[in-house]
Amino acid sequence: MAKNDLIGGTLWETYSRKVNDRMTNPRHLGEITEERAAELGGRLVVADWGAEVCGDAIRAWWVVEAKTNRILDATFKTFGCGTAIASSDMMCELCIGRTVDEALKITNIDVEKSLRDAADTAAIPPQKMHCSVMAYDVIRKAASLYKGVAMDSLEEEEIVCQCARVSLRTIKDVIRINDLTTVEDITRYTKAGAFCKSCIRPGGHESRTHYLVDILRDTRAEMDRERAKAVASKPKSFTEMSLIQRHRAVEQALDEKVRPSLLKDGGNLEVVDMKEADGRTEVHISYQGACRGCASAATGTLALIEEALQKELDPGIRVVPV
């Protein structure tokens, strides 16, 4: 909450002029007949997506030139709000002149960006982002019809947040790498769940295959299992460990062998990064408290830290203060 949130009913005010304009006067509205497609010299594709029951439905017409796979013309009809209509119109515009494969690369985010008045101001408010997703889905549907393949085969990754187009893999990675424990953290790192919020938990605007709460719970459980396993099978050598396991091992060794003596003198250190260079592991550290600026930090103390890690974990470890 803040000053800008205190006035309600601002939904329409946040639409860009382009959204307003295309809602009122769509450029690519209507249907394309077989005759018209023949005149243009291409094959007609008619794709339906969504349903009135869900609040959004779109039908798109493409004329595709067989030889080049180029989209010669695109039109739409849409049942939906202003955002849905404007997005459909912009989707058509972005498709025209592109090949089917190029069109498949267009996302709802591209559509939204094309509807902006200024590059750094969103064309629509966050909660309307999902209304632009349909315009993306219908492209895949039309392409699958044209290519005669299943729609799923055109999706490279499993998408969890349709609005921000965040994949399942990205979300799992970000939880693991940053040790995230809350859904709010996932949203902060990836923007997943920041828009229509349907993907956060069941019961939102739309139902989904994956929900952030479940992904978080399952990934955390997986991480815990791995951790338990790692503890159980300790003898595993440092070089065989994954980067996450190595990071944990380094933290554990620092906690046991290094930090107690630093803390005694009012100092501490933080591991800010770990890298692999020439088959050796580089541990990048940042000094804290009294260690910062201490003359010995770059010499004696540093040598002690490095020795401790080499002795505990692997002789190839190098410690780099940053």
Partner: protein, 388 residues
């Protein structure tokens, strides 16, 4: 462009007579009524007149209370949280019975006390969109029911609930009954001598009074702890310096609302019915709730193939202000609870438009609206793939 305002269930224009009556209290008569000097005391006769009008407007007895407050939301919160404090927190009773179609101020206050340990029973409405008294009878018991809270008329559909019957059921069983009458004042007879409610809330701005002032009726002998603690205003039941201008305006607005009830149920109803007939003459239009069961000013219509937000967008461009019950247009994106409770089909849930008239609505405005609606339906159906 002349604008047409058909969103009177959201708020209403202040009657010019009301504005005029309020004006002196922003200017020369600005005294605090709790002061002992003349500035304070000279406003008392006007306050008395205003209270007389409020009491007469709902036929309250001399020994009942009508606490002046900020809005019906405040009144509803005072009742629900107060009953929780006195009866549920103390373990005397355990439950609040309400409906699935209440305004968020009742629904969310109930959810709040639920988080404090109250049990909340939310009754569905029947196929007519009405709370069935037989259903209520099955769900209340003096051993556990602390409060029943049911709105007098629904803000979305305009459907009027049988408050007299529902309140009587509770009275017979010794259970407190509260009604949110915010959509009822000025649209139907609200008589607390006839309907044995214990608490009733209203807001001035829904019946051509100013915003930011409301009232909570409390029947003689019922008690509630205050929501706002402070000075001795409203006998300590609602502290805070009295909004004199608001009170004076609300008093007159109440009198005018009751005086114009006949006009509301004849002329406003006639205009509403004309608009409704014109809507129904369009292919694929349906209206939620039977006409005779609704307040005389409200239409909640569904227009096949026309999405609700796009519709009110178009109407707005045509100079007609309406609102939508469609999930897509609300900022929260939550499905409309009234539609869910009435088991309205999901298609209709996305095509809802609410038109609500007032005694200031004119014949010409209805003509204009019919034109704008016809044009917009045509345009949006041309855009929609679903339309025939």
């Amino acid at each position: 462009m002349e604008r047409v305002y058909l969103d009177n269930n959201a708020t209403t224009i202040v009657d010019p007579l009301v504005r005029e009556a309020m004006e002196p209290f922003a200017c020369e008569m600005y005294g605090n009524p709790n002061s002992l000097h003349e500035f304070g005391t000279e406003v008392h006769p006007y306050m008395r007149l205003a209270f007389d009008r409020l009491y007469a407007g709902i036929n309250a007895g001399e020994r009942d209370d009508i606490f002046l407050n900020g809005c019906a939301t405040e009144g509803n919160n005072t009742v629900i949280k107060g009953v929780w404090y006195d009866l549920i927190r103390t373990g005397k009773r355990s439950e609040i019975v309400t409906t699935q179609v209440e305004h968020p101020c009742v629904a969310n206050a109930c959810t709040f006390v639920e988080s404090l340990g109250a049990k909340v029973v939310r009754l569905p409405v029947n196929a007519d969109g009405i709370v069935d008294p037989d259903l209520l009878a099955k769900h209340i018991h003096p051993d556990r029911t602390a409060l029943v809270s049911i709105m007098w008329a629904n803000n979305e559909t305009g459907l009027v609930f049988p408050i007299r019957e529902l309140a009587r059921l509770c009275r017979e069983r010794g259970i407190l009954f509260h009604t949110d009458a915010v959509q009822a004042i000025g649209k139907l007879a609200v008589d607390v001598a006839d309907a044995p409610v214990d608490f009733l809330s209203f807001s001035a701005h829904k019946f051509h009074g100013p915003k930011g002032v409301g009232g909570l009726y409390v029947r003689e002998g019922r008690s509630l702890p205050p929501l706002l603690h402070g000075g001795e205003q409203m006998s300590g039941h609602r502290a805070g310096t009295v909004n004199v201008a608001g009170l004076v305006g609300m008093g007159l607005a109440m009198e005018l609302a009751v005086k114009n009830l006949g006009y509301e149920t004849s002329e406003v109803r006639r205009l509403r019915d004309r608009l409704e007939d014109a809507l129904l003459a369009i292919d694929g239009v349906s209206v939620i709730g039977r006409r005779e069961l609704r307040t005389p000013n409200t239409i909640l219509a569904s227009v096949e193939g026309v999405e609700g937000e796009a519709f009110i967008w178009d109407l707005n461009r045509g100079g007609v202000a309406a609102s939508t019950g469609s999930a897509c247009a609300s900022e929260s994106l939550e499905p409309n609870p009234t539609f869910v409770a009435m088991r309205v089909s999901p298609e209709l849930a996305h095509t809802g438009v609410r038109l609500s008239l007032s005694r200031f609505t004119t014949e010409e405005e209805i003509d204009r609206t019919i034109d704008v609606i016809r044009g917009s339906v045509k345009r949006l159906r041309r855009i929609s793939p679903a339309a025939r």
